[in-house]
């Protein structure tokens, strides 16, 4: 009886996948008054410039316009933005705060106004004739706040009738601020370690610690599965160079074991490798700087070249997958290689029959959270669902699943900024928490290092009765060993 009910629910959820909208969420939207006023996207900045930030901002903006390709984008948007504010209702932040600065188009237009005022003839002429106060220090503070509240999830872009990419504008705004060294300290410190430090990774994990961890994981795998599953290090000529979010080595042991187990089970045990000179897929450049983005990608392809691998495989991490996929061709030059995500690989192996999974290996109610960076473009939406349904007895879809998913509230690098914890819980993640609660699932699968940390904290904060895992954590339990 109960099982039938669950089955019905599953079918219903499936059917509603496309049409469900935030209005039908069972949990009522919180009233703005419930949100503490002092919650801001406050973050520490290393060496913030003290004076004349307006001039610095305009200088940075001018340099960015001169040497990069943003001009065409700004021109198109400045000329055509119709300002309907449909995006506001799509945004998980604005739904909670009702703060103007959280309207995607408001943020975009802050930048467009500066662009028009200082970098177009029409704007300059208008300012001369009508006179205006111009850009002020307060505006910079407003921008700073607004830009880092945004999680750059690009959900608003889907709802914009003109298709304006507000997250690209967020990226541009943060890049300009980044060139003035107005960057959350947590992000910048990580990038400095990754590009200039001893360990060359964002978590500052030295090579001996990596080797220790791997030996431990191999031991665990032996105990769990009885198989001799290895993490091959520095294998030249391997097919895949595997780069997870480096934090997985400290926080997501099960995911990594799942990754290794899938490679082993699919017959790729000797065809993949982890490079000991660069084992970090994280690229915080996406969140604040094209320069960092560029150099981190170059570091990644250099490691691929050193080991003469054919392809790059990124672990369970949304932004790492997207940056590699999107920017290896841009910044990789002659060293560029194809990029795949580990779930794409598992999907291919499963379809080809190389990976055998126990049917109904997981009996609990399982739901799937789409990480924005891989789902929004439609790149990885169906593959994880196919995998999960092949071994989960009770798979249920979350509302707005797929391309139109809601951000976990920790995107855009905000999850790495500890000072923003309260904001992420009370504001950024509130919609996600309601969605999670509405599913009634016991297990939520989130194949992204960012989402994992944020959702774990959300589960704790909202006292949700569920467990967070990665896709490969579950795969590890479901693989059939011959």
């Amino acid at each position: 009886m109960e099982q039938q009910a669950i089955k019905d629910q599953t079918i219903k959820n499936e059917a509603n996948r496309e049409i469900e909208s935030p209005q039908v969420l069972p949990a009522p939207a919180p009233k703005p008054a419930q949100i503490k006023k002092e919650l801001r996207a406050y973050y520490h900045i290393k060496d913030e410039p003290k004076s004349d930030r307006v001039a610095m901002f305009l200088t940075s903006f001018a340099a960015v316009l001169k040497y990069t390709g943003y001009k065409g984008l700004l021109d198109a948007y400045a000329r055509s933005s119709a300002k309907c504010a449909r995006c506001a209702n799509a945004c998980h932040l604005y739904q909670v705060t009702k703060d103007d600065r959280d309207i995607p188009c408001y943020r975009t237009n802050m930048l467009l106004d500066i662009y028009k005022r200082y970098f177009t003839y029409g704007g300059k002429l208008k300012a001369t004739i009508l006179g205006d106060r111009g850009l002020t220090e307060d505006d910079i503070d407003d921008l700073k706040e607004s830009l880092y509240r945004c999680t750059a999830c690009r959900r608003c872009t889907l709802e914009c009738p003109l298709g304006i990419d507000h997250a690209l504008m967020t990226h541009l705004g943060r890049y300009i601020l980044g060139e003035m060294r107005i960057v959350p300290k947590a992000l910048r410190v990580s990038v400095i370690e990754q590009l200039e430090g001893q360990t060359r990774n964002t978590s500052a994990i030295p090579k001996p610690a990596l080797i220790d961890t791997i030996e431990f994981l191999e031991g665990e795998l032996k105990d769990n599965t009885g198989q001799d599953i290895k993490f091959p290090l520095d294998v030249e000529g391997a097919e895949y160079l595997f780069v997870p979010a480096v934090s997985d080595f400290m926080m997501e042991a099960d995911t990594l074991m799942g990754n290794a187990a899938v490679m082993h089970a699919a017959g790729y045990a000797k065809k993949w490798t982890i490079g000991t000179k660069n084992y970090d897929g994280i690229n915080y450049g996406l969140f604040y700087s094209d320069w960092a983005l560029d150099h981190i990608i170059r570091q990644l392809v250099a490691e691929a070249e050193r080991l003469k691998v054919k392809k790059i495989m990124v672990g369970e991490c949304g932004h790492a997958s997207r940056t590699a996929k999107q920017f290896v061709p841009v910044f990789g030059g002659a060293l560029a290689r194809p990029v795949v995500n580990c779930m794409e690989f598992a999907y291919e192996m499963l379809k080809a029959g190389k990976l055998k999974l126990k049917k109904d290996a997981i009996e609990e109610k399982v739901t799937y959270h789409d990480p924005c960076n891989i789902a929004r473009s439609g790149w990885i939406v169906d593959q994880p669902r196919y995998i999960l349904k092949s071994f989960c007895k009770n798979y249920i879809e979350m509302s707005d699943g797929g391309r139109r998913n809601y951000c976990c509230g920790g995107g855009g690098g905000t999850v790495s900024i500890d000072e923003m914890h309260d904001f992420r819980m009370e504001v950024g993640g509130r919609v996600k928490a309601e969605q999670l609660k509405a599913t009634g699932a016991q297990i939520v699968v989130a194949p992204c290092a960012n989402c994992k940390k944020q959702i774990r904290e959300l589960i704790d904060h909202y006292k949700l009765d569920m467990e967070l895992v990665g896709l490969h954590d579950l795969l590890l339990k479901a693989i059939v060993w011959d």
């Binding site: 049409i19 040497y67 021109d75 506001a88 237009n109 298709g163 990419d165 690209l168 060139e179 320069w291």
Partner: protein, 234 residues
């Protein structure tokens, strides 16, 4: 008065229409130029064309999209656009003008249909104006021009309707007709220089995600060098 009307209908209309075409043409050329630059430096030219076409088509006939978010505004906006496009081009009286002006004719709308379409445009325009004034988020991003343009857009519709319905007329028919023609021409002239430019720019906006996330490979280094000198640090 008849001289004025003839002038507004003849040379002034040709001037306004030409200005609009040239202005919009300029915008398209400029935008194509920027996108071509982006295209030429792209290493990986896998633009998801079919997906883009699909979303474009979806937005042109947004049946599924309207009820999803802010249904009232979305519906009003859609109908408003339908009226804005159809009435000026297909109204029977306008078709005659098109024929006289450009030498091309097509079947015109009957006066009853045209009346309803005009009223629909005026009403949905009013709703949009109301939303702009009273909806919190829309008001927050609205400036003077956003209100002004909406009102200017409605002028030719209101004056046109009044000119065609003498029973509502409070002035001479010719005066109303002159207001109608002049306000219509004002709209034409304003299109390329205001946000109304989205009439030609919207397909480019849709493609912006695919074109402008592909940065020039040497851009970031050159920006950093210009701002911080040779020794660039993270």
């Amino acid at each position: 008065m008849d001289h004025w009307l003839a002038f507004a209908r003849g040379p002034l209309f040709i001037a306004a229409f030409t200005l609009m075409v040239l202005g919009l043409g300029r915008l398209v050329v400029l935008e194509l130029f920027e996108m071509a630059k982006s295209w030429l430096r792209m290493k990986d030219r896998k633009i998801p064309w079919s997906q883009n076409l699909k979303t474009l088509a979806e937005w042109l006939a947004p049946v599924r999209l309207i009820p999803r978010i802010r249904p009232l505004m979305s519906m009003a906006s859609f109908l408003f656009h339908v009226g804005l496009i159809i009435v000026p081009i297909f109204l029977a009286e306008h078709v005659l003008l098109w024929k006289a002006g450009v030498g091309l004719g097509w079947p015109g709308l009957g006066s009853v249909v045209a009346d309803y379409l005009t009223l629909m445009t005026i009403m949905t325009g009013m709703i949009l104006l109301g939303i702009r004034i009273f909806h919190r988020a829309t008001r927050a991003i609205s400036g003077f021009s956003d209100y002004a343009l909406l009102i200017i857009l409605l002028l030719p519709f209101i004056s046109g309707y009044l000119a065609m319905h003498p029973q509502f007329l409070f002035t001479r028919m010719q005066t109303m007709l002159l207001i109608h023609i002049l306000s219509g021409e004002l709209v034409l002239v304003l299109i390329p220089f205001t946000k109304m430019a989205h009439v030609v720019l919207f397909p480019f906006d849709r493609l912006s995600s695919d074109f402008f996330w592909r940065f020039p490979a040497d851009g970031p280094d050159r920006v950093a060098e210009a701002l911080h000198g040779e020794e660039v640090k993270a």
